[in-house]
Symmetry: C2
Subunit: 471 residues, 2 copies
């Protein structure tokens, strides 16, 4: 005789679920012995005063999960289940407290972060319209996984666009779309063997530096002179791969002149296994001059790997970036990643395709260029009015941030602490210093001033906070 507690009315679970759970519990707690015959469906139904159907459903579920087995014309029997040790220990309680995430209230904060973009003017309506085009025209493709490099039609649109705006010359075949520069860099860097020496600008993009180090590359940070990455250091260190941001050096803002570009391309052309990775992260924004053609546009030896992103021009949360691989690397890529599934949402990618094709993308960039130029001017004006002779601004009219030096001796830890009190998000140059031996200049403080997120009307207050932080 089996005793089961079944509640017939007002219970949140169906009767068959209750029978199933009670029986499962009895089996796991060994209240019913291994190989014991269960009552027939009819008998149990009578005993519990429930329908045979309910018992039948419960038995089917136990059978599917392997708690019981059946012998034809004989009935249902309990499986031999090795009792799992300390079955009843609750785990949730055990979750280590140090792994709990802290969620800070961002209310009242202002941001001079360089990592954001201005969402206030994002044309969501037009984006949604392009989504409808995507649904209408790509229904079939949305039910499938796409090409490993991303939908061809989207790559074709990107290749046309960057030919026009950045002078990049490539076939759609050479483009690989991905959810950010990091995963794309990881993908192609995986193709390169073990102890490869890699050089990166210093100060530079610390996330890429961290990624390359985590991949066990021999990474050398290389200092900058006024034209950008130092040519002599490159020649003495002799890396295979060079990571640079020629259009607008991150974070110093240097625009690499044509002479240094040509020196670099000549350096790369010297050997078949040298590559320059050109990270063109925010080249769409220029104030006063036209865009400067990419380094890739000058490369005649397939030595440049170009990386671009929609994080600055659209939204960073969209995570749409791409790389352009030279043919030799592309061939290696295809061989290595033949089983790889494209990780970006095709729905967003097709939407992007229509957004570009319809001209909305270009219009949006123009609008934003104007808007950012205005905010940038205002921020610089306010900084100069407030800090007077104590500030030196690296006034390169490009991108979504600039570097500012403040004549003040203060530790960055103190700046960060004070910024927290003042509720101002601001990043110092320290974050981008990739050389472990680096010593802070004792006469000044350098901050990366991002102006993408801050609202025009918030600029005076942000600069006031900054003044209190620094003084």
């Amino acid at each position: 005789m089996i005793f089961l507690k079944i509640v017939k009315k007002g219970h949140s679970k169906h009767i068959y679920q209750q029978i199933y759970e009670e029986l499962k519990k009895s089996i796991l707690e060994r209240k019913i012995t291994v190989n014991e015959k269960l009552p027939s469906k009819r008998n149990l139904a009578e005993q519990l005063n429930v329908s045979v159907n309910s018992v039948s459903n419960a038995y089917e579920q136990l059978l599917a999960e392997g708690y019981i087995y059946t012998i034809e014309r004989k009935g249902y029997f309990v499986e031999n289940i090795t009792q799992y040790i300390d079955q009843h220990e609750a785990r949730a309680v055990n979750f280590p407290i140090d792994l709990k995430e802290q969620h800070h209230d961002k209310g009242g904060w202002l941001s001079l972060s360089h990592m954001t973009s201005d969402i206030s003017m994002f044309p969501f309506k037009k984006w949604l319209k392009c989504q409808n085009e995507a649904i209408k025209n790509h229904r079939q493709e949305l039910s499938e996984i796409t090409s490993p490099q991303g939908p061809y039609i989207v790559r074709k649109t990107i290749s046309r666009m960057i030919a026009l705006t950045r002078g990049v010359k490539c076939e759609p075949e050479q483009i690989i779309i991905g959810g950010g520069t990091q995963p794309l860099v990881r993908q192609f860097m995986t193709l390169l063997k073990g102890n490869t020496k890699v050089a990166i600008e210093n100060p530079g993009y610390s996330r890429i530096h961290a990624l390359l180090k985590s991949m066990k590359f021999d990474v050398a940070p290389i200092n900058l002179d006024k034209k950008g990455i130092d040519m002599k250091e490159i020649e003495s260190i002799n890396p295979k791969i060079l990571f640079i941001t020629p259009s607008h050096q991150f974070p110093t803002g240097i625009i690499m002149p044509i002479s240094r570009r040509i020196e670099l391309l000549n350096w790369a052309a010297h050997s078949n296994d040298r590559y320059i990775v050109e990270d063109d992260y925010d080249s769409e924004f220029k104030y006063g001059t036209d865009n400067i053609p990419s380094l890739q546009s000058l490369d005649r030896h397939h030595r440049v790997i170009y990386t671009g992103t929609f994080s600055k021009t659209l939204l960073p949360s969209f995570r749409i970036s791409y790389i352009v691989l030279p043919p030799k690397l592309l061939r290696e890529y295809r061989n290595f990643y033949s089983n790889w599934i494209q990780g970006s949402n095709s729905f967003s990618l097709f939407t992007l395709h229509y957004f570009i094709e319809s001209g909305e993308y270009e219009r949006h960039i123009k609008r934003m260029n104007h808007h950012y130029e205005m905010k940038r001017k205002l921020l610089i004006k306010q900084l100069q009015a407030t800090f007077k002779d104590d500030i030196e601004i690296k006034n390169v009219p490009a991108g979504l941030h600039f570097l500012a030096h403040f004549k003040k001796n203060k530790r960055y830890e103190d700046i960060n602490e004070k910024a927290k009190q003042e509720k101002l998000e601001i990043y110092s140059i320290e974050r981008f210093n990739l050389d472990s031996k680096y010593k802070k200049d004792e006469t000044s403080i350098s901050l990366v001033m991002g102006f993408a997120t801050i609202k025009t009307e918030e600029i005076p207050e942000a600069v006031n906070r900054l003044y209190r932080i620094i003084n």
Copy 2:
């Protein structure tokens, strides 16, 4: 004297752009010597009969790009530019023909692929409604990059949902969202040291097999018995990590009974560095019984890494998957990936949050479960009517595919060739055989029959084509 060709009317480019380009060309082709002084803006303007402004803009652009330099009160001079070798070689022409992508017309094709989902009933309207909620409530977050593991609120919703539907017990902290199972597996497997031995079901998911091999793991395919992965082989091979699909073995369909589950968990609990990766790729679909709780739900020793996906329940093109890491691995993950940016589109993720919260997700699954059950029944019926005694169907009422054996000796190459002629997308078991020494059984053909994409009314025609392919 400098000669420039300027077209004043009807040219697609502004006059300043033409001056800029002509001057740049002259400098690159050394028609103007290094350090030569350029005419003053006024002089050149007069010579070309254009406005001073046009010349000024052209000079500014050349200055920004570093083609010329300026000495105060003296004027503009040509920079010393090392001429780049074979400047004029066109590259596009050189793009290797073997890297060109082939685009096949899919018109007239029918598909029994296991990789798709049915888009015909996807509630786009409701999805778009949830998007609007995302825009309304997460504007600020959409202008930023999110937490490396994905937005907390989305992870919280997923953790609640899988607790309910899969018995998975975890904190939102343990969830990592990513653009597919592949990149997520690569992420946590990167945490494991060099020569780790890894075991995987055979036949099994070949993409994961390929990924693990490309990561240089020592991968052992392990055969299946009727309960799933073979326990004895595991004990003799002694891997550290085990990749399994207990809810619905891919591709054979075996539902792992509780006894084997407990054996596996006991095996894993024996050592602190053993892990079981439970790939729960299509457990949402069950016909006739309820869902079977996940292996993770039975694990009391934090030995199971759970991986789930929305590729089957929503659309594979959305690329939304997640893993649940045990605390020890989570700590290592956080240390290693502290600089990592979440690669999924937050806009889709917040949308998913509202889609689940509003109950739409559950309703959609219910609808699809019913729809798939019907298509599945019809396909089986049609197959049995057509192939009669020559077919044996592994009738496991779960998932979006089943395995079928055909009593026929034919090479898979011939099947594939014939399928192309008949315009039927179909995959044989060969694709999932991970053992290089594997020899095809000469008495039968095994095919993976996916029924997600095929329309009800297309089923008879698809089975007819299949009949012609096999006979």
